[in-house]
């Protein structure tokens, strides 16, 4: 099994892209999943300026890195979100935010997401990972009462805004891989089903599988992989640890990352409760051969220690695989198990 291991640069966007590439290369990653923010990737330039795109690839090559995916969670978030507020302003490019009028922001965010597909194509990449936002996330607790109509409209809004985007992706030969994640239109098993239904199983719409978001929602990542096998376009290796003690809650209590009063937190891969080996055996079973992208996030640890540690873990997990041709012979022998 030769799945490449990449580093998602989203949590490193405070560093220049070149520096991140050097670090990742030095540690032995196979490539980067480039975040479309910070100075890492300007999607409009990449889409329009062949030299810029080539410059990015040159940096990768100098560090022995490939690229299979780029990611634009930030712009994607604004496509469907309601309300649009200061939180969006803080993360959007000026060209998207402009005057902050919500509907205008949403439309420009949609344009940015289309530009991201063009940037991907320019880089020779066929997958964009990202978020969709959601007009009904605010109603997750169902109070004030959210009528069925209100909920249905949320999925319809998603379909209305995203189908044109996805059509464009399809034309460009690029897949949009929604990271199933709270605050998005799909955040668990049933909302993933419903989101697929909303876009009529659009061929350009697939999922970025990130089990860290399932841990605290108590969703079984392996069952998700099994049942959505043909929709898994990308895999994040991100980790979550829980600490429920009767006081810490599932919802995080609006506490900052790293506060031990949270019921759960992101930690360096291998330090939490994701059943990685079962997941990798399931990835083998469904034939996933794309990248495993380390999304390191751990407010309690130094990323310079955590990222290479995660890489080592993924290498070990990638080594869990049948033995190819030689394996077949072994297997018939092993049928006589005892």
């Amino acid at each position: 099994m030769t799945r490449p291991v990449t580093l998602f640069t989203g949590q490193w966007a405070d560093l220049p892209f070149e520096e991140v590439a050097e670090l990742a290369g030095k540690w032995g990653f196979d490539g980067l999943e480039i975040a479309c923010w910070g100075d890492h990737l300007d999607v409009v330039r990449a889409a329009e300026d062949a030299d810029y795109a080539k410059g990015r690839r040159d940096i990768l090559e100098r560090n022995g890195l490939g690229v299979w995916t780029i990611s634009n969670h930030l712009a994607g978030q604004a496509v469907c979100d309601d309300p649009i507020d200061e939180r969006h302003r803080d993360i959007l490019p000026t060209r998207v935010w402009k005057d902050g009028e919500p509907e205008g922001v949403r439309r420009r965010a949609a344009d940015e997401i289309v530009a991201t597909a063009r940037a991907a194509a320019a880089l020779g990449v066929d997958t964009v990972v990202g978020f969709t936002g959601s007009s009904i996330w605010k109603a997750v607790a169902m109070f004030p009462p959210a009528s069925q109509r209100f909920i249905d409209q949320g999925y319809e809004d998603f379909a209305r805004r995203w189908i044109p985007i996805l059509d464009e992706y399809q034309r460009l030969g690029v897949t949009f891989a929604l990271e199933v994640h709270p605050s998005e239109i799909a955040y668990d098993y049933w909302t993933a089903k419903r989101a697929l239904m909303a876009v009529a199983d659009h061929p350009a719409f697939r999922f970025n599988f990130d089990p860290s978001h399932f841990v605290w929602q108590q969703i079984d990542p392996t069952m998700f992989l099994e049942d959505f096998a043909d929709r898994i376009a990308h895999v994040h290796c991100k980790e979550t640890a829980t600490s429920f003690n009767g006081r810490n809650g599932r919802l995080g209590s609006h506490l900052a990352w790293g506060d031990p009063k949270r019921g759960w937190d992101f930690v360096t891969p291998g330090h939490g409760e994701v059943a990685w080996e079962r997941i990798f055996r399931q990835l083998n079973a469904i034939g996933y051969v794309g990248p495993i992208s380390v999304e390191w996030e751990d407010a309690g640890m130094d990323r310079l220690i955590g990222a290479p540690e995660a890489l080592a873990m993924v290498r070990n997990l990638n080594a869990i695989a049948p033995a190819g041709a030689a394996f077949d012979a072994a297997f018939s022998a092993s049928e006589a198990s005892s």
Copy 2:
């Protein structure tokens, strides 16, 4: 122990108040926790029109019922919420909603909550149960990134809007009992701590304890009672059952009540996972002698069956209590346990 058992009329507001009173009286409830919506209680009229207030009490008396609490979740919700949208419009009185301009709605909702205290006083009731709303609930998933400043502002907004209300409550000798509940400023253990801190332990601010909202957040209701003993002003007997199976999630998947694909749902008291006996023993320990109010909600069951069933359960639980004076003698005997 002589705690009264009341029926919360919120889930019966489609019926005329008089009919609900008759049902409750017939079933043997000790009283009603009157919802301030439907035709059950118009707080403005009750505050201003002594005859109206007397009329409500007459209905209760005719049915052998008392009243210890009135509830105004709906108006309370709008005091801090952001955004204010169609969901609020659907549940607010016209005099509060008016043109729907958010800040105006919030101010009028605050007035309504003050009127509710006056209505309580007019009815001879010293506790108002309700919601507060929250400007930061929408950020519960912490994406888009909610900065510490953003979160802090949520609590400050709550304090700014509610301290004047609470001052008025204090003057009227009425307690506002926030039902700790997702979508409110306090929804779990740590947010309850933080909310108390935000209003500097205001003497008119206490909690309505409803364990059904803790089940799926994995908060220990007994520990909550123990640690917030002096802030428990009222108790809801409402129940939750979970059905996690790897597909159903903690967040409910935006599915309707009663859908078995939800990870949890409200059910008739006694049909779920609340550890009622431990809770009642803890209520004994902290000396809570107020009402136990049945908040019946179960999309899969007939309320005409469920409500009296819940009443019977609470009567049995209320019977779990030390034997008074006689008990002391028993206890010294029981020290020689074997």
Copy 3:
């Protein structure tokens, strides 16, 4: 919800049919699921002799009982089993066993199962519950090594023997409801899938849902109901309790029923670990309105105590149902949950 509650007569076949009918009538059952052995029902006579069939119905009517299903586990077992041995001889009618030559027994058992459909039709019943047997059950531990070919042949053998039977059932307007059960072609979730595939989703082939067989196999009965919703033709209310302690095993250790050294055992419904309320709420969700048939079996209890106790439990469970038209109004009220 008006699901009838029936008593399966299989565990009462030592008593004359008339006596069982009297007991069931006296206890208040709505009907019987008649076992096609003992003197309870001779399928050949019922199929051929209108008077005999009428006589059976008369007995039922005299005791205020209906019939929706008849059951023929014993003959069904022999259709696919391999080996055929003394255990089959002890439970088969002489006309099926004859000389005991295995292939002959299998063919005559198939004829008997077809006759059972005719008997059902003669009694005005559209469902036959039963077993299929399996030529690969003996290989459940996969040692000696069972090759993929060997396993595939098991399903093919099942299809070859049963499709003609099922075609005949379809012609007669009768459904064969396989009780998913160890020792049958389908005994769990995945074998149920595979069995359906083997008969190409034959319209006359459905399942008798009996959760007692899932408890010790650790299959989730509710998920089974959800995923096979359109294949549930009948429901058994039978119960299992486990007692794993490090010594007692999942496989029962070839110990007799009622031996506390067994890892699990059948017990009177309500005395074990089946999550009945979740199951009944799921039955509501999938719209199952057929009979709930009490299959009482408990080597540690008197059936004269256990059977009426089970009936009472099922009546309570059947009462868990939305309130019909009245319910809809309640539900919109309850959307304003708090």
Copy 4:
């Protein structure tokens, strides 16, 4: 199954014996397990004064009660305990305590236990339930370091003091049933083994089985019954509930009964975590036909409510039993389980 249900009078010793007998008779108990303290039973008088003994039996008979067991936990405790201190003084008869010199107290306590056997014989009772005390209980935490020699001496001390007592019991045809209980020489599975070994399986030494003491020690009561089947002389129906929450500990924190900060507490039978039905099925399996004695203790409940509630529970449990002769027939039918 006709096991009598008795009430242990230990927790009622503040009431006159006659009053307890009246209560128990009124509630429908079959008899009393008479505590040898309060005014319930003076063992010396009963052993020596036939009229006194007859008087006790008369009281029982007047209330329709029998007696199968008398209990002397208090005197038994002092036989081996070290240190002997004010706690013993508070529970011992003056004739045993006298000057409180430890070794003298121990010897007089041993005499009292022998007298208890004589009292039993005088009452026509063949079982004395009680405690043994232990010189090594104080070393349960093994600090200061308790050497193997120190521990061994504890068992030797037990044997040296109790074998003469047991010999006397044997002569009198009475069994001493040690209640396996923390603070005694045997308090769990392995110490029960070791205690039996210490007295070389003395025929007069058996156990009073009380599962409430196993709950918080995490001992499996059913396995205990299975493995010590031939040593079960008596059964207490006493109950324990736990409330571990990360703060409450297994050892009870030296807190008073009824304090919710305790990790566990005694509660009315049926309100806790003892797996009663498994226990009763196991009692059937080992053929135990002696009394089930309700030892009611619950600092949070009124004994006048709790005791009859416990009686009702035991009656239901006693009803779980095979159907005798009729059962055999049923059983062969049930072998054809499906």
Copy 5:
């Protein structure tokens, strides 16, 4: 502790014996547990031809390997099995299968097992690991109803066929170590007890302990070691991982090894749920000093990676042992634990 670590060659029988020896030697194993199939060991030749036996030992010695055990699961399986079918044909030597007539096969299989003891003796080995087969395995689900007589006959059949074999083993100074395993006469705790009883604790009959078969049956391996301490002749280090999710079942669904739909599967030691450290500490406690034999089987991993990984794990586990003489001093110090 100097327990040798061996590699069981059963899963490597597709390779020539010499190649397996080279691999094992290179990886650092101490020896081989030689499977009596493939070209690894012909028991008849080894029993009769001293040169052949010496040749096998020479190969071992050249690779720095010893041998303490040989294994003949395949022939053993046929001694008691019923039915005998194509699965047996596929694994038996021609000289045993011949015409496939069942009773003849069983007798020749018994002869082969006796020959295996002779081969062992010729190789200087005192333990043969293997299977027994079972005429009642097919009745594990107890349907069609398996009468007590039928079950008893299974154990009698086992005794009748194996006691003569065991007598011969005893004469040769060789122990037959049955691997407790589903499809054998003993597959769990209670069947192991019953099997021992059936052969009256024959001195030549002991067990090969393999915890991988206990994981999914929920048998506690440590308790098994403790209670059968004097019958443990050999230890397999084989591993199992489970993946129960409500759909995957305990019985494996007749699915192939490596299919993630199985409820459990064999995996490389250290990748599953066997509590190895507890087991090794228990092996220390019972004084087991024989070989730990790695039985590698993992359809999802390359054996060339897995086998040396398992060896490393066992070496670490073997290092968990008291410190000998030096340890005693440490221990008295450690009594002053704090």
Copy 6:
């Protein structure tokens, strides 16, 4: 984070101090927590003889070791214990035991503990770890009945004996860190609260946190750290493994360390069930920067293997820490988590 890692010499007191220092230095420990027994540290000499104290420090320095804490569990134990018996004699210096008269022993033990503070000061150390003993430990099972008065007196006795000691500690600038441990006045969460209350939160009284004693009492170590954050003076890295199987009990059955029949046992750090990573993250959160002292104890392992293994584990855990200044930047990036 630069917490030093020390080795507690208590379990090495059979070796000369110099030898232990050499071992620890060689393994790479940062220092020793010196036990005040064996020849490791004579507190009277150290308090009075500057040369002796300097000699101890010289030994440390020669081996590259520091010292932050000294420990005197043995003398501390005798300050409050009742009874005082041979177990104390075996562990106390002659100058403390003398004639063994209990009250005299207690007073001399108190003097020894004061001397320990002086020794600490002489060594430049500001923390003494130790035990307090308890006059009520013997009543942990609450039988014979321990009245509230009896329990209260236990805490009063503790206060009366220890406040003068603690005053002296305060004068000397030394903290006494009680190891919360069964057999001491504080052994769990609530007794720790009560002990603090008894000494009115004496500034010289803090805790040595050792999670190994919480595992089997089911106390959450992380919650303990959070709630007693300002009282954590020292941390032991000691480990416990449990093996509950229905027979092994929570109380250890008075069995020797290392016996697999114990329900729990001390094991080499990393081999048990302490949630070390959560603990270290919590230590980061409360700002604990003192030593992590390895208290190695494992009757089933060689300390020469176990101690350096534990050191390696602690080094890895210490590495889990935010990245300092650099971290802040990373953290704001990580707020944009996805």
